[in-house]
Symmetry: C2
Subunit: 322 residues, 2 copies
């Protein structure tokens, strides 16, 4: 596979697991992870990029495996002191994690692009994959609920996904530009596949697709675009995907997700538990285990997904010749 490159489109925890598998399987420099920044927000005057950090910490082997966010072996003196000062404590920032936010905020205030800051943070932590934000412009996911519109983190963390979702919008997306490094990765002539990671399609992947040009660049690349299912047996491994689908009036099934990605994807990776649905899916399907409990699971899913890319690319080449 020497010389081939791959792009992963990724949200937080579920996506980061597959990104880790891809990173372990691909040679250094072959993987670019373009990450959702719709979850980003300003908190305590700091620019927090939850999905970017989850991806970086996961790839660096520094993530907290239990929480799915933050650093392992973290301390919490800052939160305790902030609480003593009467500051807001609903969004928990660990002491070590805080260094990421402080350093990012400092550099953004100095005029650096989020793309550069993100790449530098990843590099500093020894990550060899390129980790990039979808845009250097602010895009903010807003969840319209029965309690009114809620900024993403207020919905997700403060309200623990409890309000009923009526719609999801991406503030700033229309004016946002696809970040140059992300665009360059999608335009790379060596690109052999684009993988939509098993992140929440509505909350985590849609903000990526809402950035003008990202969907087009994905299609224009000519590389196979493959989505990996975020549902197993109609349920998300973690997070509110199925709940949101029900609230949006969608069937909580991979069928609805494949329809959601209609026109974008060339293939779909389905879990073994949903094998009987393969016939309902309009694009080529790869059935495999998608539940990633161990590093071996992540690596196996990455290998299956990359093999599926190659199969689709080969099939497209044969069809072209015919």
């Amino acid at each position: 596979m020497s010389g081939e490159t791959f792009v992963a489109l990724c949200g937080g925890i579920g996506g980061a697991k597959l990104a880790l598998g891809l990173d372990r399987v691909l040679p250094p420099g072959a993987l670019t992870v373009i990450v959702n920044t719709g979850d980003d927000f300003e908190h305590l005057g700091l620019h927090v990029s939850p999905d970017i950090d989850t991806v970086i910490y996961t790839l660096a082997g520094l993530a907290n495996p239990e929480a799915g966010w933050g650093l392992g072996g973290e301390t919490w003196s800052f939160m305790a002191a902030l609480e003593r000062l009467g500051g807001p404590t609903w969004f928990r920032l660990g002491d070590g994690d805080l260094a990421t936010h402080v350093e990012r905020t400092r550099r953004l205030r100095n005029g650096d692009r989020l793309s550069d800051v993100t790449a530098d943070l990843a590099r500093a932590l020894g990550v060899t994959a390129r980790v990039l934000p979808m845009s250097d412009d602010p895009v903010r996911t807003v969840v319209e609920t029965d309690e009114g519109p809620l900024p993403f983190q207020h919905y997700f963390v403060a309200r623990a996904c409890k309000p009923r979702v009526q719609a999801i919008s991406f503030e700033g997306a229309a004016a946002a530009r696809l970040a140059k490094p992300a665009a360059a990765a999608l335009a790379d002539r060596r690109l052999a596949g684009i993988i939509i990671c098993p992140s929440n399609p509505y909350l985590s992947v849609d903000p990526l697709l809402a950035v003008p040009g990202l969907r087009e660049a994905t299609r224009a690349s000519g590389a196979p675009v493959i989505a990996v299912t975020p549902l197993i047996g109609g349920k998300a491994v973690k997070g509110p995907t199925a709940k949101i689908m029900a609230e949006l009036g969608l069937e909580a099934s991979v069928r609805a997700i494949v329809r959601h990605y209609d026109g974008l994807i060339d293939g779909f990776v389905l879990d073994e538990a949903d094998a009987e649905l393969a016939g309902d899916i309009a694009v080529p399907v790869q059935v495999t285990n998608t539940l990633m409990r161990t590093l071996a699971d992540r690596v196996a899913l990455a290998n299956a997904t990359l093999a599926f890319c190659r199969t689709l690319a080969h099939r497209a080449a044969v069809e072209k010749r015919a």
Copy 2:
């Protein structure tokens, strides 16, 4: 002493020790500490106010007794993570301490005055004395050295006071306004004494005196102004006072310090070790132990200083009547 108020003019560690003694001795609400902000600086995008924090932490009983700055029982995960990211580590910020800087910075960016933020931080930590900055405008102490001009923290922390001092200036002082709450404390009709704490006169007290109106308000109050010696036997308990005096061509003696405060002070508290210098001093002198090793030492010095205030006030009243 009911109804009487006192103002302490204060720098960091040495001054904070006496402020603690005064706080323990005076009834709640009687003490206002006006603190040097010439040491303030922006670090990692955060507004750090070292002397204010030392005073607040000391009065709150939360200070690190060994270091003379920061919080006791501190953790250091942030610094370790920042170092891993390649960030600057010469100025050490503890995890709990960081909450103070983040909260202060957030509120200043929201447009709050440093006076209000400082008062609120002190209150949140249970401090009953009023802790106030000298000014809500930026004043930055710059140390002119044989290595060129150094911002205070670069001289003090990064270079550990090693460069030879040629002069000291206070950037922004000419345009700075005495903060309203500080001005109000100095104009209080109940004011019974102003105490210049045993802080470095050149680095920590001079920035206060450089704020237009502070010296005048001090004199205009009519209350006795008393300086407590920062030198014992020609040496500072901590810090570079004697070294700086030598570099500035001054005799490292309380005589030079009393001359420095000429026209401002009505009395001087001298250490027992320097009792033989009492005759050289042009203002009334109180000789006592000024070395504050224990809380009892701090309380005793506070009591001696307050008694001296009352003696001077009584003497002035008698002279007025005569």
